[in-house]
């Protein structure tokens, strides 16, 4: 990271600490915001959060690794999550997987070369009556077919 990037990051985290409060209970909301803005939580951000909350950086790292929506390595700009649980599985998850993988040229768990998409599986998204279900960033798409999935991805910036 360049120095000015570091400074910007420090400032950003200082603001988040001010917003959520300088205590351990604020850790997750702070990390969630960093994650949202940068699509991951870089090492330097972890150190800064630890320093400002007065906890050990290992504690921060340990919390990040516990939650599947937080990650320390960069991911694509758009995170495409497909429900892998049984109700969606019964109604065509597999064919959606095939179509999406073919179209983007990557498999689940990977990020496209241009950094636009990361494909991931998730567990039940609470839309089991309308499966298969896709969660793209924060938006849900239900009753997805292979064709519809590709159309949806085409509409993502």
């Amino acid at each position: 990271m360049l120095v000015f990037e570091k400074n910007a990051m420090t400032e950003e985290i200082e603001q988040l600490v001010a917003k959520y409060g300088n205590n351990r209970s604020s850790l997750l909301p702070i990390l969630q915001d960093v994650q949202r803005m940068h699509k991951h939580i870089p090492d330097f951000a972890q150190q800064e959060v630890a320093r400002l909350l007065g906890i050990h950086p290992v504690e921060v790292y340990s919390v990040i690794t516990f939650y599947s929506f937080l990650n320390t390595q960069p991911k694509g700009r758009n995170i495409v999550r497909l429900c892998q649980t049984i109700a969606c599985d019964l109604f065509g998850k597999k064919s959606v997987v095939k179509a999406v993988e073919r179209e983007l040229g990557i498999t689940f768990g990977e990020t496209t070369k241009d950094g636009k998409f990361t494909l991931e599986y998730v567990n039940c998204l609470g839309m089991c009556d309308q499966g298969p279900v896709l969660l793209i960033n924060e938006r849900v798409y239900s009753k997805v077919t292979p064709e519809k999935a590709i159309q949806i991805l085409g509409g993502v910036k």
Partner: protein, 402 residues
């Protein structure tokens, strides 16, 4: 097929008429003891799965002398096949949030927290707008409805994709900024909850039921359901049926009646209670949905004759292997062993003696695991292997014995 909407929803209790703020007004005109009395009268049990009597929980926290207390709405809804809390939060926020305010008044808390699963981020904005409206109408904030000495506000906290954080002590750990690892109990959250303060943790639907109980009374609520399971329940129905969705039905409904209502044909099995529930074969379709028989937090998944039950089971076990917090050995290793056993079955390589050992392992996990995840994850393993033996061993589901 159209998705259901609020105006089409019918139900005797939860979906019955309710005007926003009604429960709060009524509650504030009563004493705390009156409210606890009505709750006890209603015999309401927690809708999150465990079925603990809500009146008991509230009474303990109300009696605690601590200055700080918390009300937590558990909106982590992660059990596979459960989506009724989504419907309540999106279409009936008034029921849930009024229920939280009533809880705050009754137990003497000033802070309410909604722990909303990360997957439901898209609901956050509408809930926040709703909270804002409540503050404007003095249903939230300082001196609610001009009642001096009663201040209560609600904040929303997000989860980050961990099923185990629905377990109340793991949820509290998560709120405190830790890994969502379940705590040893006792102490229970009612005495030592969030930041050490007495805490009520209730499911979304439990809180929604409370708004109705406070306005219409415990006796009214008790008219529905069975003696041990009072009131009605929201069922999240998915799988092989014509009309999946959320249904309000009284406790005591037979599984066969449920199948009729949702238009399920050629049903082979019904998974009651999600991945951690049990799988019921045809011979059990006359059982009733109730705490005393087939208990469920609401998840009903239907499988027809064309489905491969070993595949269903494998999907469940993969879920638990991923979602175990890894803190205790029976659950961390046990679930992996059960999944490996299923893979052996698929390949036709699992001996009966090994399978029996795995079932014993499942029983050990039910006893020795630290929290409900590991205690209930073997349920589907044991019930599917027991109830669908023929399918699995005749080579339809697995190739063993071929």
């Amino acid at each position: 097929m159209m998705n259901q909407e609020k105006k089409d929803r019918k139900g005797t209790v939860l979906f019955s008429k309710y005007a926003r703020g009604e429960a709060i007004k009524k509650a504030l005109s009563q004493t705390r003891e009156d409210i606890l009395f009505e709750l006890r009268e209603s015999k309401l049990k927690g809708r999150g799965g465990a079925g603990f009597p809500t009146a008991t929980k509230w009474t303990i926290v109300a009696a605690a002398t601590s200055k700080t207390k918390y009300v937590i709405c558990n909106a982590d809804e992660g059990e596979p096949g459960t989506f009724k809390d989504r419907v309540l939060l999106l279409e009936y926020p008034e029921l849930v949030l009024d229920g939280m305010v009533v809880a705050g008044y009754t137990i003497g808390a000033e802070n309410g927290i909604i722990y909303l699963r990360g997957e439901y981020e898209y609901m956050k904005k509408s809930l926040e707008d709703y909270l804002h409206e409540m503050r404007k109408d003095k249903l939230l904030g300082r001196e609610i409805l001009n009642k001096t000495n009663f201040n209560f506000d609600i904040t929303i906290r997000m989860g980050s994709g961990a099923y185990v954080c629905g377990e109340e002590t793991a949820l509290i750990e998560s709120l405190e900024g830790n890994r969502g690892e379940a705590r040893n109990r006792p102490p229970y959250p009612v005495s030592t909850g969030l930041l050490g303060a007495p805490t009520v943790v209730n499911n979304v639907e439990t809180l929604a039921s409370i708004s109705h109980i406070v306005t219409k009374g415990g006796l009214w609520f008790k008219k529905y359901g069975t003696d041990k399971s009072t009131g009605s329940k929201l069922f999240s129905v998915s799988g092989d049926c014509e009309k999946p969705g959320v249904y309000e039905l009284p406790w005591g409904t037979r599984i066969s009646e449920m199948l009729e209502i949702v238009g399920a044909k050629n049903t082979k099995a019904v998974q009651v209670g999600g991945a951690s529930g049990t799988c019921i074969p045809k011979s059990g379709f006359n059982r009733i949905l109730a705490y005393e028989d087939a208990a469920t937090g609401g998840s009903i998944m239907i499988f027809n004759e064309s489905r491969n039950m070993l595949h269903v089971l494998k999907n469940f076990m993969e879920f638990f292997v991923e979602e175990s917090c890894g803190q205790c050995t029976p659950c961390r290793i046990g679930n992996v062993k059960l999944l490996e056993g299923i893979e052996l079955l698929e390949q036709g390589k699992c001996t009966f003696s090994y399978l029996n050992q795995l079932k014993e392992l499942g029983k050990t996990m039910q006893i020795a695991s630290k929290c409900g995840l590991g205690q209930s994850s073997p349920n589907s393993f044991i019930s599917i292997l027991d109830n669908f033996k023929e399918e699995i061993f005749d080579g339809n589901g697995g190739t063993y014995g071929k």
